[in-house]
């Protein structure tokens, strides 16, 4: 357990981890009294940028390995993958258009949205689906894709399983086999500059451990 007195542990985490990490925070703080975990949620690339510009953070949890690799110089140790995510097709509840897989998305008159190829989910989409899709929009992040589907504006969108889970009853997810070719891996690492090296290590292990596994699974992440 943690040291006496209060210390603050700053965790830079990808925005898609908002829900799971917020839940983890409570459990971690209950076990490690005296440690106050605070999160900065933003896009992984933004967080990497900030770390490179001297942000004081203790732990970095990225949504992809590319961004983790940008901050190698600032890491205390090797990053460890703690979760994976897979693409799925989000459709209106009950799947009224009867979409079964990627092939159906090419049907004329179907409004499909995906992530832009520059962002991680878009890269994954490219990898899984190639360039066959003719989307009406290439969104800047996966939440924007989801929003278009929940708003009824798009008939289908390629999003992560976690997104379908968090949207609850507003969308239905249709898994497709090609998604396995583009599994997205979430690495976590403590940062070298941390003044709370011990707590940082503990948090990293907590995320990688059973408690982390449980919360992450609950919101739809896959095991590493």
């Amino acid at each position: 357990s943690g040291q006496a007195g209060h210390s603050t542990l700053t965790v830079f985490a990808a925005a898609s981890l908002t829900e799971s990490f917020t839940a983890l925070e409570k459990r971690f703080e209950a076990e490690h009294t005296g440690v106050d975990v605070v999160f900065s949620f933003a896009g992984s690339s933004q967080l990497a940028q900030q770390i490179n510009e001297g942000a004081r953070a203790d732990v970095f949890a990225s949504a992809d390995e590319a961004n983790m690799n940008k901050v190698t110089a600032h890491l205390a140790g090797l990053p460890a993958v703690f979760a994976t995510n897979q693409l799925t097709i989000a459709v209106a509840p009950g799947n009224p258009k009867g979409i079964r897989g990627l092939a159906d998305l090419a049907r004329p008159g179907l409004a499909v949205v995906v992530c832009a190829p520059q962002v991680p989910c878009g890269a994954a989409t490219r990898k899984a689906a190639g360039t066959a899709l003719k989307p009406v929009s290439e969104e800047q992040d996966v939440k924007a894709v989801l929003t278009k589907v929940t708003a009824g504006e798009a008939d289908a969108g390629l999003v992560y399983r976690t997104d379908v889970r968090s949207a609850g009853e507003k969308v239905t997810g249709v898994d497709f086999p090609e998604a396995a070719q583009a599994v997205n891996r979430y690495p976590i690492a403590a940062l070298a500059e941390s003044a709370q090296a011990e707590a940082a290590r503990q948090f990293t292990e907590f995320v990688l451990g059973p408690a982390g596994r449980e919360e992450l699974t609950r919101v739809g992440f896959g095991a590493p």
């Binding site: 949205v113 832009a116 929009s137 969104e139 924007a144 708003a151 504006e153």
Partner: protein, 265 residues
């Protein structure tokens, strides 16, 4: 005219003015210094950047025009009409100013999207669907930019008072003539500022556009969206594209803000 400054600008003001200028200029200078200027030409002629630039300029121009056409009348009504309702409306106009742009885009989607009550009617009546079209970009930009025009014009209208408008009425000018020949010309300097503000806001619009209009190259992906997309993979090139945006904007504003708009006295 060879008019003297009556004593000039108080010295005390130069200090904060210089600070303000530094706050604005230094970061941009820092940005330029960090940019690999050698790569700039290559990035700038990239088709994605060019098409985004073109789209940005067209849509921002169109939405600025829309802002003027709709916003000037609204500002006049808000500044000149009386009653409690007007005081309330004055606050309502500020809504898009404070709404986070993404939420603003969502609001537009809820209204004009396929399931929105206006969007549904439009679709049923004319078969037109707004989202994911260039028109949607213009609407989103107008939505966020118009309050800037309205608020700045309203303040100017109120400062100017109604003296000349009253004179015009005694000369037999009906309200529309008064508006066209007196109110509007006297408003020109403020309109200049308002147009610059709303054009700049429209040009930089990001959140509402991506939410309401999406992001498709050549159709809805404006330069800010392109910058954002670039920044995910390559921050440096994103910065370069952003600088392109800045240069173009400054040029457009400098050229499109003729001396006529700078003052009538």
């Amino acid at each position: 005219m060879a008019r003297h400054d009556p004593g000039g600008i108080p010295r005390l003001l130069w200090v904060p003015a210089a600070c303000a200028l530094a706050l604005v200029v230094l970061p941009v200078v820092g940005l330029v210094l960090r940019t690999d200027l050698a790569r700039l030409p290559e990035l700038v002629v990239a088709p994605a950047a060019l098409s985004a630039l073109e789209l940005s300029l067209t849509t921002a121009a169109m939405s600025t025009v829309t802002c003027v056409i709709l916003g000037v009348p609204l500002a006049v009504v808000l500044a000149r009409a009386r009653g409690r309702a007007v005081r309330f409306l004055r606050a309502v106009v500020l809504l898009p100013l404070v709404l986070p742009p993404v939420v603003g885009g969502l609001a537009l989607l809820y209204l004009l999207g396929r399931n929105g009550f206006l969007g549904y009617a439009l679709d049923a009546a004319t078969g037109v669907r707004l989202p994911f079209t260039t028109a949607a970009v213009v609407i989103a930009q107008t939505f966020v930019a118009m309050p800037f025009l309205v608020v700045s014009l309203e303040g100017a209208l109120r400062s100017a008072g109604t003296g000349y408008e009253r004179v015009a009425a005694t000369l037999g000018a009906r309200p529309w003539t008064v508006f066209r020949r007196v109110t509007l010309p006297l408003l020109l300097p403020a309109l200049g500022s308002g147009v610059v503000l709303s054009f700049a806001r429209a040009l930089g619009e990001f959140g509402a556009t991506i939410t309401f209009a999406g992001s498709l190259q050549g159709v809805t992906r404006t330069l800010p969206l392109e910058v954002y997309a670039q920044s995910e993979s390559d921050v440096d090139s994103a910065v370069a594209v952003a600088l392109l945006l800045v240069v173009v904007a400054i040029l457009v504003i400098a050229l499109a803000r003729p001396r006529a708009l700078e003052g009538v006295r």
